[in-house]
Symmetry: C2
Subunit: 670 residues, 2 copies
């Protein structure tokens, strides 16, 4: 059978994904949206979130237009078109995910008034809309571009155009992630430090002026940002495999990654049906993930087995390489879980250390976070060797594809988290009572448990994807080694390792600066609005939303622009070899800081929750205060800087690949 | 002239250095040691310090004996002898430095009763004894081994034996640094958290049960640990250059680095004469450093110029490569200074952020610390390229030699710091009055200013030295590339980057655990000893010293042993290429964490001092409390983990080089 006939599975899977997403969207929207008060709160959150995204997208439109012109002039007209489409799709994925999340949160809260089961399914289906939209939009976009730009005389041409698409998706994702991350933590820290710590009112209390901004933040950061981010790494992963596959196996190598992704979508749609609460919500989510992975593995086996009959270049080892990624992803997830889970030693020791004050809490959490780097890196190292031994460099790329093939399911479980978190907030602000809040808490806890495994997938996939992108860069630019003994490579690598901590720091400082403004404003309102503490007067929510919005947009510019500018500077000054080293260096230190920040952040959060569960003196104790400070340090680690690093690495790698030929021709020295 | 006649400059410089050191030793010792109370305190510190070192050295003797036997059996009998000599010299350098520091501190305090000038010179000459002893012992040791093992048929034989010497020095330094670092911060945190924060008594107050342990810690950590550490990096730097020089230029390449080091000693001895207080003590120290560097540059120029006449392989470019190191070292020092100095934006912004509480203080300090990574790494990258362009790989090694050639002067200025710090403590505990304490404070502040530049030298030298050691490893094991695109190298690199943060974390957790025990004990004494707070009863100092001692020895074992075991595991399992990647990876992430931790720690310290100077509410304000917590986080960063990383990298590189041939023959896979 012609490979391009088989290829049609890809757009079909994308369309199927979108159809299911639309069905679920209307299913969720048809649910009861609750009391008037709930609708009011929900509307306020929506208003703030949409206002933020609108301003963000307008800023990005200007930026994207400039970049598109530059690409059209200096590189390739068609790549510029692909770039614009990629940007739009990425923004769309983020926006759609947020839109449904804003419908789902209030409906989950309403359903939680009756029981756990219904509430869970609304939250999860809300997440599934985003999961399906992300992968559907990605595969449709890539398929269409592939179809339009396929050139039988040069199988690498279409992937090269799709590079523009991926670059567009990633650069938007970077802004969305950085901006959303700064927004959400600005609001969170502002709300917590004044509300919880200084005024002693509970989280999500409607008297807190920053509470709406906090809820908005969850949506623009955790939902819209994450949607754009996963969209970008999904596309980058498949693209890297297409480029390497094309160079090693020819046209079947270009198409195989797409087919594997398509099977992942079908497996995820089947898996979604199994996500129902039987025991705890947490195990329902995990069951869905495991079933999806199993079905996907069977599908992938059958595909590669039968393709191998007609196309001898498709060897069974490619299946095993894909499977390696999947298994390593699960193992990494489980080990990461150990370092953050509330039931394990690290979180407990960190909680205990809070008794000696905040400094020891910080040191303990930071140390366990640093130790938690070892298992995932060991996992990635082992996966790299096994996948390479099985199927060469294409094997490494396929293992990255394997992990994220089930992205629809993974994103669904991930997006469930902020939806139910928001539902909890709405339940609290609308005074739905203890029982409902307790249910919402249960739903929320399930989100945190599921997160460990999905995070493992995301981390290992990102690691392997950027390695594959580095290989793709080397192939494009025509260098066979990235030899650390070459002084230019060495210099590039040394510069590269400094970039991820540098850019993370800029983002964290951005959060700090903006949080400072927010704290001043919240304090001011508590002081100047009479009757606010007594619940007799309304705080000025809009003012806080405005501070978060303006600040986030202001602070995201520098780190985002530097992400694109730095690899270009290194490449055009020190040459293509130094740029290879630069990418390697930034990938290496990027992985270290991504794991460190995500895990330490999660750990501090759970250490605080452990104490809030009544241990070690419980809420209000000195240990609790120390743990709250630890959690506040961890917040921008895990929600701003940590998750931005993956996107940052992808953007740097893609920038290098996009400009590879120009750099090879025009570098100053090196 | 025969090169081996010229070589004699080296042992002569070593002997000259020791003679001057002995002279200064007796000069310092002949000074007035103060009142009986001062002598008592001094005796108590000495007792604790000697007890600790005794136990540490006994533990290390067992370890060294085992390693020596392993080396004799598996590698080379002569290398084992060199290993033992290296271990003893390293321990001796640490011990001598500490011994004179313990004489100098109390005499500096006594002299401060009369004036600044005399006190300064006692403190500085105390430091100079250590500086001169370190370089003297190093060059004599290396010269003797070179003389004994020189083999005209194989110029690489002697350097290979000296590898054992360097390995011995480094492994002892690692234990001394890690153990001393854990000790000093255990005591410091214990004393501060209970004394300053909970009981509101001043620093170094004699009522604090941990105050003697704290003073002991300064000596075993900052003095003895630093002595061993600088000894080890001085030897490793010259060794790497000898190995590479031998392979690229033959016998003159082996000897040139030694000659350069010898000139550095003479320049330092001359420079010492210029260190007298005219204006402030800080500028006296800096003047000494600058004059020494200038004289050294002239000497090095003349040497290489005249050698070049007789030995054409010695090109002037080698001088410029050496000079590059020197200049980059100074520049890095000045930029590092910016990120930690009390007068600059980062420390001030961190201080200001303390107003919003401890979490934002931590985030701000951590962020500036992360940003501070960029200038030194950029400096090292530029130095690498320039030195390589000038004189190839040997050029990189020579630039590392260039930086640390003036080590005698640098170590003197560095060791001055803890001596005057201790003098201040003694002045406070013996109640010498406000005026004397103010003078001691001035002396102490000068130490901190000088530290920035010496730290710049240490950092850049360590970075370039480990890069040179990596090159040496590659030469020894016979690999021409460390190609990141090779999956084994990639896997090795990925594992390597996880090791420095992992081992740092183990050390910090060790501090945390031990500090916990110390805090409990100090709290217990304040509760259970009647009249302690009123100054009517003596605290039980010995008990605190004992806790710090036992804990430090217990906690140093795991990280130190892993430092040696991990490269061996990677090498014997994944092979020599993977081990090359492993070293590269650990060097890269090691540099990042070393800069981050040292600078963030210094920054938090100065942010606290800024507030203590009366700004932002001054002592006792909420901002001050937040800044104290930040400083407590920074303490193990800058005094335990950060400085241990350099040693750790050197030990890992030397381990790899020592076992290179065995690994090449016996690796499992790869």
């Amino acid at each position: 059978m012609n490979i391009h006939t088989i290829f049609m599975i890809t757009p079909i899977s994308g369309i199927a994904s979108i159809i299911v997403a639309i069905y679920l969207y209307f299913h969720v929207k048809s649910q009861n949206a609750g009391t008037d008060k709930m609708k009011d709160i929900s509307a306020a959150i929506r208003e703030g979130a949409v206002a933020y995204l609108k301003r963000q997208y307008m800023t990005l439109a200007v930026f994207s237009a400039i970049v598109a012109v530059l690409i059209a002039v200096f590189l390739d007209y068609n790549q510029a078109i692909a770039y614009i489409i990629g940007s739009i799709c990425s923004a769309l994925a983020g926006f759609l995910g947020m839109d449904i999340a804003l419908h789902a949160n209030v409906r989950t809260a309403q359903a939680a008034r009756k029981g756990l089961k219904k509430a869970f399914s609304i939250g999860f289906y809300g997440g599934a809309v985003m999961g399906l939209a992300v992968v559907g939009l990605a595969l449709i976009g890539v398929s269409v571009l592939y179809y339009v730009y396929y050139d039988p005389s040069n199988v690498s041409y279409a992937p090269n155009i799709i590079l523009g698409f991926s670059f567009g998706a990633s650069s938007i994702a970077l802004f969305a992630k950085a901006g959303g991350g700064i927004y959400t933590k600005t609001a969170d820290i502002g709300a917590d430090l004044v509300g919880k710590v200084e005024m002693n009112i509970p989280e999500d209390d409607p008297r807190n002026p920053a509470v709406i901004a906090d809820n908005v933040g969850d949506n623009v950061g955790d939902v819209a940002g994450m949607g754009a981010d996963l969209y970008d790494s999904y596309v980058a992963g498949v693209l890297a495999a297409m480029i390497i596959g094309g160079l090693t196996l020819g046209v079947t190598g270009v198409i195989l990654p797409l087919l594997i992704k398509a099977l992942g979508i079908f497996a995820s749609i089947i898996g979604l049906l199994f996500v129902r609460v039987k025991g705890s919500p947490g195990s329902a989510l995990n069951r869905g993930t495991y079933i999806t992975c199993t079905i996907f593995a069977v599908f992938a086996f059958l595909l590669i087995y039968y393709l191998g009959i007609y196309y001898p270049e498709i060897e069974m080892n490619l299946f095993y390489a894909t499977l390696t990624g999947l298994i390593v992803g699960i193992i990494i997830g489980l080990t990461s879980d150990y370092y953050t889970s509330i039931d394990r030693t690290p979180a407990r020791k960190t909680a205990e250390s809070s008794k000696t004050g905040v400094a020891i809490n910080i040191l303990t959490g930071f140390s366990y976070g640093s130790i938690s780097i070892v298992p995932p890196l060991l996992g990635i190292a082992i996966a790299t060797i096994i996948a390479f031994q099985l199927a060469g460099i294409f094997g490494i790329a396929m293992s990255a594809v394997g992990i994220m093939a089930t992205a629809a399911m993974i994103v669904s479980a991930d997006a469930y988290g902020p939806i139910v978190d928001n539902a909890k907030g709405i339940a609290e602000q609308s005074g739905l009572g203890e029982e409902v809040i307790a249910r919402a808490d249960k739903l929320d806890a399930a989100g945190n448990t599921a997160k460990a495994i999905t995070k493992g997938f995301a981390i290992s996939s990102a690691g392997l994807t950027v390695i594959a992108l580095l290989v793709a860069y080397a192939e494009i630019v025509g260098i066979e080694t990235i030899n650390f003994m070459d002084p230019f490579v060495m210099a590039g690598t040394i510069i590269g390792i400094s970039i991820p901590p540098f850019l993370s720091a800029l983002m964290i400082l951005g959060v700090g600066k903006n949080a400072f403004r927010m704290i001043e404003e919240v304090r001011r309102q508590f002081k100047q609005i009479p009757g606010l503490m007594e619940g007799k007067a309304q705080p000025d929510y809009a003012r806080c939303v405005d501070i978060a919005t303006k600040g986030a947009l202001k602070e995201l510019i520098l780190p985002s622009v530097l992400t694109i500018a730095t690899p270009l500077a290194v490449g055009f000054i020190l040459g293509k070899n130094a740029l290879g080293g630069f990418l390697a260096g930034s990938i290496l230190s990027g992985m270290v800081f991504a794991f460190l920040m995500s895990n330490a952040g999660g750990l501090w959060d759970n250490a605080k929750k452990y104490i809030e569960d009544g241990k070690l003196g419980g809420k209000g104790s000195d240990a609790h205060k120390a743990a709250v400070a630890g959690d506040t340090v961890g917040d921008p680690f895990k929600d701003t800087a940590g998750p931005s690093i993956n996107t940052l690495l992808v953007v740097m790698s893609l920038t290098a690949s996009m400009f590879a030929e120009l750099i090879a021709l025009h570098a100053l020295i090196g």
